[in-house]
Symmetry: D2
Subunit: 395 residues, 4 copies
Amino acid sequence: MSASLSRPRVGVWLIGARGSVATTVVTGCAAVTAGLHPPTGMVTETPAFTDSGLPALSDLVFGGHDTLDCPLPKRAETLTAGGVLPPGTATAVTAELVAADREIRPGGPTPGDVGSETELITAFADDIRDFVHRQALERAVVVNVASTEPASQGGPGSPLPPSTLYALAALRAGCPYVNFTPSEGMHHPVAAREAERSGLPYAGRDGKTGQTLLRAVLGPMFAQRALTVRAWSGTNLLGGGDGAALADPAAAAAKNAGKERVLADTLGAVPEGEAHIDDVPALGDWKTAWDHIAFDGFLGTRMILQTIWQGCDSALAAPLVLDLARLTARAHEAGMSGPLGALGFYFKDPVGEGPVGLSEQYEELVRFGRSLGRADGEGRGARSVRDTEETGEAL
Amino acid sequence: MSASLSRPRVGVWLIGARGSVATTVVTGCAAVTAGLHPPTGMVTETPAFTDSGLPALSDLVFGGHDTLDCPLPKRAETLTAGGVLPPGTATAVTAELVAADREIRPGGPTPGDVGSETELITAFADDIRDFVHRQALERAVVVNVASTEPASQGGPGSPLPPSTLYALAALRAGCPYVNFTPSEGMHHPVAAREAERSGLPYAGRDGKTGQTLLRAVLGPMFAQRALTVRAWSGTNLLGGGDGAALADPAAAAAKNAGKERVLADTLGAVPEGEAHIDDVPALGDWKTAWDHIAFDGFLGTRMILQTIWQGCDSALAAPLVLDLARLTARAHEAGMSGPLGALGFYFKDPVGEGPVGLSEQYEELVRFGRSLGRADGEGRGARSVRDTEETGEAL
Amino acid sequence: MSASLSRPRVGVWLIGARGSVATTVVTGCAAVTAGLHPPTGMVTETPAFTDSGLPALSDLVFGGHDTLDCPLPKRAETLTAGGVLPPGTATAVTAELVAADREIRPGGPTPGDVGSETELITAFADDIRDFVHRQALERAVVVNVASTEPASQGGPGSPLPPSTLYALAALRAGCPYVNFTPSEGMHHPVAAREAERSGLPYAGRDGKTGQTLLRAVLGPMFAQRALTVRAWSGTNLLGGGDGAALADPAAAAAKNAGKERVLADTLGAVPEGEAHIDDVPALGDWKTAWDHIAFDGFLGTRMILQTIWQGCDSALAAPLVLDLARLTARAHEAGMSGPLGALGFYFKDPVGEGPVGLSEQYEELVRFGRSLGRADGEGRGARSVRDTEETGEAL
Amino acid sequence: MSASLSRPRVGVWLIGARGSVATTVVTGCAAVTAGLHPPTGMVTETPAFTDSGLPALSDLVFGGHDTLDCPLPKRAETLTAGGVLPPGTATAVTAELVAADREIRPGGPTPGDVGSETELITAFADDIRDFVHRQALERAVVVNVASTEPASQGGPGSPLPPSTLYALAALRAGCPYVNFTPSEGMHHPVAAREAERSGLPYAGRDGKTGQTLLRAVLGPMFAQRALTVRAWSGTNLLGGGDGAALADPAAAAAKNAGKERVLADTLGAVPEGEAHIDDVPALGDWKTAWDHIAFDGFLGTRMILQTIWQGCDSALAAPLVLDLARLTARAHEAGMSGPLGALGFYFKDPVGEGPVGLSEQYEELVRFGRSLGRADGEGRGARSVRDTEETGEAL
């Protein structure tokens, strides 16, 4: 008890709080805290971040919005049956799942909604503020892990996409914001203007979990070796909710834009080739990504690299979400604001400025971690944007 | 004419001068010089090295040792039939192939040899010196591109491996030395002592061309993402002379040691799994490498990455050999000596000190290129080893 | 000379006579006849067909229609540069290429055409008849190897697809017809009625060359082992003209229908999963097909088979086209008529009745070959449809 | 109760009764009988075998020999944790696992054994006979599913391999025998002589479960299409006990001989290429097999097929073991004797005569199933070997 009084607790407010990623985040945080599993996949648990002043995993408190109402323990059971969560783990942390479940509020807009956008934003912001007060949190970070929205066509006058409503609610509630999805969120012009004014730090977008993670190391390899990539083709097979969501061509287009950006950034040009995303319900939460890269060697010799990645997206995403929540909370505490370009390591389409190859992004992240350790931590506003220029990670 | 008088020419003395790699080196250098092909795969032709003061491709002169006597134009014809060289290229540069062929001397030791090791070294060194004088070269670099030797068992008193005889001949002739193969060369204690005394720069060993190139970017990816690699298994299929040479388990062991070192260096530990090298004559000079990587994600979720690399080793190696000859010649000119750790980008088992991930090695290489540009170039001896410490690339 | 008088020669009239497949057919037939290459890939050259009374390769005479006008020797040169034809082969058979080139007539309809469909059919039929008379052929077979047409939307009154115009011209000229493409050809109701009346044999459609060949053996494997296929996903990458043609979704739909039929036929149901066809010009005439098959084993255990096929479509198709021309010519000679169901071995979407697994189709083909050997060969009409019922291959 | 009196029950005596395969057999038979899972992977449960007079799954009674003593329910728990058995299944059939566990007797020879080979055989035969009497079985089939033995070097006088001791015990006890492993078993000359005299049917050897199953359909595909396979290379990665057993080169040699036989049988010649079996404990009971097939098409064009099979060996083997037990028991009942060549569908290295392609083997199996249905079933001896000649499946 005294611990919880003396150590400030940090909220993690998940948009899509009943999804596979969110469920894995909550289950995994509790399981690692309890010592049931090592923190595999969490970069912030490696020695490089020991002195960064990050909130402890045991100090994270979860809540969020979702339009569904399946209870988290039930969702965790389904994920266990699907092989995403190891047998026994969800049962061992039922208490934490129940606690998080109690902090989930209905999302929107849903078909029945009659309120205006402004009303929705206000209601969402109130939900977040209530969570912070009820749980006596020092601060909270809003993280979007909801299903990918269709790419917006939106001319002036068209409705704001839901992800942007939530992003605006985060700003309204005074919370840093992380967009782990390709949805528009803080990229919408309306939100971008608000973000600038808010003085809050934010990060995104579109987590770099599998195929794109690979591309972020293979692209630089070809470039550094002066090998000419002629065509880069790829197919993703995935089931689960994500597969169904991305079967919508507009949602797939949003997703693929990020993948393509990684190639363009690292190769200097977008090569020939398409990227497919297929909904294959039989695969459940597992994903297979095949990449076929045709490249030229010396004297134009044609060569080929193929990669096959078989992973579980939720298990790949969850530790990154925990990393991001901790890093962004600490950046907020250290008074940083604006786009956190130093978190490009985590994203396909990073905000702010930063290097494009994964290794350089990793080095940048480690520098950022060190700068967080040096920050005084006297809270938001204590450091101006100028102060952080030296490390270049937050503008 | 005045150009050739005023511009110093640099010799490239190839051990294994009639092999596939050497033939591709000579053909490719001429073809790129003639504008028949872009310099794909040559890092030293990218903008980062424009001001490094490297010798021009048109100033390189080729010669070497080999135990075979098939003329280079004939070898080039065979490589063209096998799809390694593009149709028409070898014919277009026949004159250059004939010229290089005239500078090839018999290698050894061969079964009939009766001379002592010392006699062989002296004879090889004389061949190299004769080449430098006859061609009026400013300097020459010795590059080992011969077939892989069996890993030496050698206790005291056992004969020196051929690669070491050539390395000692290079030192005797006052030439920098590059070992592109896994053979012992300058790593033999006898040669290592001589190298230290010689004040000459040297580099190696074992070119990082295909499967290991990949491992050098994938290994860091897993490490940086805190993903636990449990097993890394691989099979290489290759024909050509290399396939036959590596069918010898002792030669394969030498090759695999380098591959394993890359994993150990980048992952921090050697995971489970074996690496096979199969001789498959039907594949000719083409190589297929399959890698299967079993890794753990968050909460121990089992995931798998597989890669299939289909390339032509000679076409992958040749531009790197040209890079290394130019860089080492320039390092010699700049008075550097000892192991060139900054060339780790090119090798599985690099000499000297340096980073282990490919991206960091690339950055180091670029820094080295810049330091070469700043070097006064007043020739060997003008700068002491101490002078180069600042950039850390030559100790 | 006396040989050519005494041995009846057979025409092969290729629709798409300047395409990659046709060029490979003409080049390959000449090269095998000249003993330059073994007849790899030609089933009719195996011992099982020795006594089938097939026309000799040296007795085949080529001609055809095409809308392009690049000369065949030039096309063959391009295919040689692209690695489809081996170096030297096209040059060695230039005479035969020139001879075939002289027998190619302009195809259609082309944008400028003003004639009616009937006029086009008549003109095409005249071209074929002229060919037969000019070359003093005993008979000719018409084979469609043109680019895939978009799947017809065609309600009543819509124009006949070009492939159907050619099919009708073949009937008009009294020639057997083979459709090696997924285009409509003889499947159009108008042509189907004509075919029935004509008493001519015909075969098709859509050659089973690569990915579908594999599916025709893997599908039965799963079925025979009582393993439940849950999803079968695939991606095809191909360049060349075929890649561009199939980038048209309607053409791809036509192609995919055939692939799907093979799965439905052999598995008994169409599993989940999509099939993509991507135009990747960098691959030239080479094709890569990746298949991912998720299946259930005992107690529902999830297992996966993946296949990667890297082939050259023209080289796969050409020997089958030669097989089909010979078999269909002989069937015509033997008086067979109607759909040749016994040729299902060659097609994704076979006409007539026949087994669905490749092995059963092979056995059926061998039986058909034997029945051709027993046929009296007194020409068309000598055997009635009834006579062939016993083997079931031609109704 | 009355059911068990009126319906004859059949024993399945498993050599290696505590191994992964045996545990999956016992668990799966009970689970399918209980309706918990469909009989996926069991060919004998398909309509083609409805009238073959096979014993019902519910009439099978399990026992066996093993040198280990871990109880079956415990083994099943481990397999559940490893993902081989689905969650909940083993628990649901604990009673059946306990019942089978009670019928397991210690195997041998073990290091401490002092008895002669004859004594061991007698003891094993007594164990089997006791099982038959105690359980009041109509008959029992002995099936070897133990770990692969090293290939015997055995000259005259060397000890009989354990698998042969068990095979001789089966004959002594009057039981049909099935060898699902590559071990010598009934192939040893001593056992072969005994088998001939015994009048008992037997089958084997080496179950065709994964990579070889694929080869049995791909080999015929290449042969039927007259494509020349130049090299067939493969690597198997597997953990579990099987991986460790096959890490012994002599055991791997035994296993690979079967794989090679399938290629030789279906292609007509053994192509270039090696087959590796690697022990990768991290993979547990899962196996990955990569095959790389280099083949020539028309005019010598080089093409490549690669396959990647990811399966669980126990789940692949178990339904085949149940099939074989039922078919062999029924063959015994029908009075057949000698090698059951018609069961070649199941084996890499089949006894007796039979076709080599999987499809032909399947047809042969279906014919065999029909002949079993027609058999009078009056028990062993009722039909002579001659009587079964007509169908060719038992000589």
